[in-house]
């Protein structure tokens, strides 16, 4: 299973090494790491999620990405719980023979994670983060395919 929902931090180099170990058919490896951004000097957040549904939603997003692009491999790690400013939140790794597929698939996965994976961010001292219209709009460009979860 290539998706993981966890409290613990992750190590990009280790994940890349794991993905490429013992094979030479990967020509492109794209990684995206999301971090907790400091806002107005304040920072930190609590990330809540829906155990069970979260894993299903991530698996569904991964399966959709694999059906659209010819990926050699794919990995999604999403953290939850308390996260300090600067902490890593999410990792998406996509591997393909040529770069375009890996780039596009990583972007697709992130666009769906933003508004179709059951996570909710609460910023310290600021309250719940509202969903952004632009995140919803980002889904529209992928048009056909998953419209839910």
């Amino acid at each position: 299973m290539a998706v993981c929902v966890q409290v613990d931090d992750f190590d990009l180099s280790a994940e890349m090494a794991l993905m490429t170990a013992g094979r030479a058919d990967i020509g492109a490896l794209v990684s995206f790491t999301g971090l907790v951004r400091e806002i107005n000097g304040g920072g930190g957040m609590e990330l809540e999620h829906y155990p069970g549904m979260t894993e299903k939603a991530l698996q569904k997003i991964e399966a959709e990405a694999r059906s659209r692009w010819d990926l050699q491999d794919c990995r999604i790690i999403h953290r939850y719980g308390p996260l300090e400013a600067g902490a890593q939140i999410v990792l998406v790794l996509t591997a393909s023979k040529h770069r375009q597929m890996a780039f596009e698939a990583a972007e697709f996965i992130m666009d769906f994670l933003k508004s179709r994976a059951p996570f909710w961010k609460k910023e310290s001292g600021r309250g719940w983060v509202d969903a952004r219209e632009s995140d919803e709009a980002a889904l529209a460009r992928w048009k056909a395919g998953i419209t839910k979860t």
């Binding site: 809540e48 829906y50 994670l113 933003k114 059951p118 996570f119 909710w120 719940w128 983060v129 969903a131």
Partner: protein
Amino acid sequence: MNVLYFAWLRERIGLPKEELETKASTVADLVEELRGRAPRYQAAFADMSAVRVAVDQELVELDAPLAGASEVAFFPPMTGG
């Protein structure tokens, strides 16, 4: 049936999860029933355009049927990534 609440819905209602017996046939009926229980439910379900629903861990619309469902969850629009 288990009913789950997340994020500010959980805070407004004051609990993360409850088990209830209901004859509601759709999600919308269940929301109406919950609204009738206490003001805190009314506050949580005041603006349904800000509420998303999952039945058995699949996102659904408000008019979705509840027949055979064992878990319903209410939460705000998701903010992952």
